[in-house]
Symmetry: D2
């Protein structure tokens, strides 16, 4: 089955501004983005409320903009993979949105999210995402982390309940990030978000939206993060891009960094039967002009497909199956104990020396990954 | 109340071996460690099974060693803050213990842990810790992360059940770590461990044992990690030491790195009424001789006390209370919504421009932390 | 001697824009910054050409702006610690300035720098800084690093020669940075810059401008970096701020992160007799209003002074002198060999076992640093 | 020309000890390593003095061991790519070797290095390497960095002079590393080492030995580091392996991590005509048995060859040449100025707006790298 590729409006529409310089590309009409992406084989788009409807638009303007956008979706057959709220751009959110110390800001943030959920529902969005880009601190002493998490939980509970009360049927996905634009963000990793979800009123409606760049910034294995989310039945959406460890948020083209990790990710997604959008949350390098944006977008999809092919090829190789067997990989799926008496298990602890003899053939297996990736096998 | 300080037998007993060089200090008799620590005002010790009873000891030897150790505890009035199993040192665990691909190793690991739990109970340990130092991969393809987590869960379930069946009454604490000695470890952060606990058969008996060095290696805020654990009621134990971000596991003296983060941590523990041991899992620099070990141990306790004093002084300062007020810090403890209608909240979203005007006085507040830390206020 | 504190116009004038949100503070008139800083005890300011003279200004406007600014300097007695060129903000520099692949851009960059050097000289700047914020790549294959370094060298040679030909008498300082806003920057660390300088036509006129945040982003010791620059006689300027390891460029208030490293730095600068400006290249948190900017600026100077006092207090303590002696610290200043015959030295290699006995008392010494920092000694 | 592959005796001989566990493999006879490597197509080996001659051997034992080893080299036709001194393993070096605070240790270290240089010369080593694994600090206050660098310089000067006085004709190579096993090491990066070399008495005899893992630990571009070394004519040797950013020293199989960076490196080495050994300083995973060591060694060479082939294929593709042209990559080799008058250059600075229009087609070029790497082009 062809994977469903989606792109954020803000990704192909990224004008190339960064902390040290202004934009290098002109703004893009969202309708043009939809058309261009459709031509290149994408399945759909995603968006923040403000990506489509400029803040401060009148109700009439909003409706006109939305109608025009829906017409473009219909005309091209494109879908909306996910919708989300911009709770980071406005200066009012400088101390946080759901966890701003100012209660009025928290309420305004919740209100803005409600409006954005209405918009997402109107556009037929599949999943609703929360990314808490401002939910953090530089001066850690200014927020008791327990209060911050409690307010975060309250806001998500209120908004899930709102969606349900309106009959929107959204599934929600929380997007963790360790830092930037704040010094430290709450819910810094997939693990923290998964735990947080277990504390919600309606945990069954909320999952995670892991992003390659975000886990990678902290040097954590994205493959393992997605693995834990899948294990928990909580992979509701995914953000694909490229990132080097320990740096500013780069949002490079998918596959531009760490091809082995990208391979492991794609193999895991495909084997696990993940059927949500493959969503690219990335943008082209700042030194590209408008044409370069489409090189970027095509590259994301091209690399995903190449890695999915490589994963299939890998698993079909007899030497891979042999190496997995030699590594006892399939044996990890077998229960360790089976009604055994403690004394029996304690006795087996005496066999450690004998158990230390064998090798696990991980070099061989890992080299097979490299060989397949490099196309030499 | 004086905090209860504990040290691992392996900490003051650390001989100074590292990946590039052999030991620089002679082995230490655990009984001597107990006496030396008692003299210096520690409350107790912690231990791995193998720290006390050399692997391969006969039953008689084991009993003799344990009896001698218990006598030393009794004589000095020292307690056992926590006990744990060494599931990383023996070469049999080279591919993992609970998540080794070899089922026989997994069973031996569980059996070894049962024996160690017996020992911990015999010594009156307060908390039982699991650190999965070998539960990971270098060649990620060799373990499906979903299988690994399932085996991890199975093992913890079996062992908690074992403890309960024996009436030991242990509370368990999982200790996360992102990497080292394996390329990537499962349960890499406090967040991942908290989520994992929510999937266990007896989640109420299992909490976390966060370690300064482990979260810090990944550049995550330890203050926030402990905050999330406290918020969840899951801070069952804590490992204090010093570490630089993005490096090998350093286990420096508590407070040797990042004094502001250490201050925030101590302030949080003291304010939250955490009453478990303040456990130092650290060791003296390798260029110390035997005397330097006690400089190290005294330094850990001395810095903790100094930071606890600083935290009290900080919170007593009128200018701090004013600055917290100016930052609206107390307001974060107030619920954001109170039965409000969605339409009312949506309307408040229109007030963002006005809400953007105010400042949060975080520079002032953060400088007060620095002033208090540096003793100039 | 009171240290001479300087601030960049762009630091107190920082409007709070970041990659995810717009400005939170109004623009500041450079003349107001000069006055406000003077009132608070700063010695001077520093500036990019564009900070003072908006790009595109007419010659007449430029002259008027400069005259007004000079009048403010004169009125307040403030100096110009350093001047520099903005070679990163304009979109033309998106692929680099001195190392853009486009030769026309490289020439324009050199021309802009010449104009800016004229301005710096007119304002009486002490040092001229080059920061190559765009001199790097995201797609590494697009620039042969040898060509890039050759172009970089050419540009610096041309500009130093220009300054000399005009009789400006500037000393120049290169400011290294590992990454951001480009994926990887050339001259990523103080070491790379020091080596690069050794290849220049007039190496004696060029030194380095190390920045706390930049070395710290890569997790390198800033204390050691400044030490190597001082050892080489190349510390021509310094940028002080705060930064966590492995993150986006934070430019926090000086001393806001890693107080021990800040202490070591200040102690080194003061002991080495560094007499250049103590330049703060930082900005207040984005959640501050205009008033918070001055809390920030005062905090930078306050912490520097407190650390300089602590360093003096530290070195005056008898127990510190004893601990330094016990660590053999003064002995490191003594030559290791003194015309010895190789055979004599080879024979001494046989004494290793005996030499391994002693300890170095580093825990004691390091704890004394912590004690002094925390004001408990 | 077939690249000359070399392996350290300590690499294939690595027994699998790490900070948390003992060895998992038996010691290996260096003569067996030579034979096994020869069979697999390696060109030669490298060694520390202690790898071959156990410390404490009598003169007669030493001579017998060396003779037997030379016979094995002769029999197999293997060469010695480099020799080096173990100045990190013995506990006497716990505070440093050339920069130990104890002058007697510094002298013993120099003496041991002289003996090891004799051994290296006797074995016909091509290059002599210094890696300062203990030349650093945990307690930074214990060493003035200026004294440390001065002692470091003294030692290297003395040893180069010794080699020259004996007529050995060695070229020396310094190997930088940022940290581990010490908290911070002096000469942390290739840049710092290149600068340090410029301060030596005989700089022409000393170059660098960059190691993938070491620059990568600090998140620096290895491609750029090697580029700067080549640009300076100082790439005298190179250590190839695999490493993740911001972690303990992993020394994984070459190409096991970050294939794009490995590709860029191999392409640069091959294009620059680097003719020294391609030296693998790595070891097999700890969960391998003796057989896995040879999977590891073969993988290193296999991946290097595959990447060299990919680099050739890349540069032969017409679409790559077009993309390089579109990126103006060749134009970076052209001088920026050519006797131009300053005024002419200043005038060109007025053209920035026009120069901002073009794109640099870096996405296209970078995707071609990925395509070639994945074998889809």
């Amino acid at each position: 089955m062809e994977p469903r590729f989606t792109f954020g409006l803000w990704t192909v529409g990224n004008p190339g501004r960064d902390p040290f310089g202004g934009p290098t590309r002109a703004p893009v009409d969202p309708v043009d983005s939809v058309k261009q992406l459709a031509e290149r084989g994408a399945w759909g788009v995603s968006l923040h409320d403000d990506d489509l409807v400029p803040p401060g638009s009148s109700a009439a303007d909003r409706d006109r903009i939305v109608a025009r956008f829906k017409a473009a979706l219909e005309e091209t057959g494109m879908g909306v993979g996910m919708a989300t709220t911009n709770l980071f751009g406005h200066p009012a959110f400088k101390d946080g949105a759901f966890v701003s110390n100012d209660r009025r800001v928290r309420r305004a943030a919740i209100g803005k999210a409600m409006r954005a959920i209405d918009l997402g529902a109107e556009l037929g969005g599949e999943v609703y995402v929360f990314w808490g880009g401002r939910e953090g601190t530089e001066a850690a002493v200014a927020k008791d982390p327990r209060d911050a998490l409690e307010r975060y939980r309250e806001a998500v509970n209120v908004l899930v309940e709102y969606s349900e009360s309106q009959g929107y049927g959204f599934r929600f996905a929380l997007e963790p990030k360790p830092n930037e634009p704040r010094g430290d963000l709450f819910l810094p990793t997939v693990g923290h978000a998964l735990h947080f979800i277990s504390t919600l009123d309606r945990p069954e409606l909320v999952g995670v939206n892991p992003e390659v760049a975000h886990e990678t910034m902290a040097g954590l294995s994205f493959h393992h993060a997605v693995g834990q989310a899948l294990w928990a039945g909580k992979l509701f959406h995914i953000d694909l891009n490229g990132q080097d460890v320990g740096r500013y948020d780069q949002d490079f083209r998918f596959g531009a960094e760490d091809l082995k990790e990208a391979f492991l990710l794609v193999r895991l997604l495909e084997r696990a039967g993940y059927d949500g959008p493959r969503h690219f949350d990335a943008h082209s390098f700042r030194n590209e002009d408008a044409a370069g944006v489409w090189d970027f977008a095509e590259g994301c999809m091209r690399t995903y497909r190449a890695l999915a092919d490589a994963a299939e090829r890998f698993d079909a190789l007899p030497e891979v199956q042999e190496a997995l067997e030699a590594a006892s990989t399939p044996e990890l799926a077998v229960a360790s104990v089976d009604g055994d008496e403690p004394d029996a298990l304690k006795a087996e602890a005496g066999q450690l020396d004998a158990l230390a003899e064998r090798g696990y053939y991980n070099e061989r297996l890992d080299q097979l990954v490299v060989d397949v990736l490099l196309g030499v096998r």
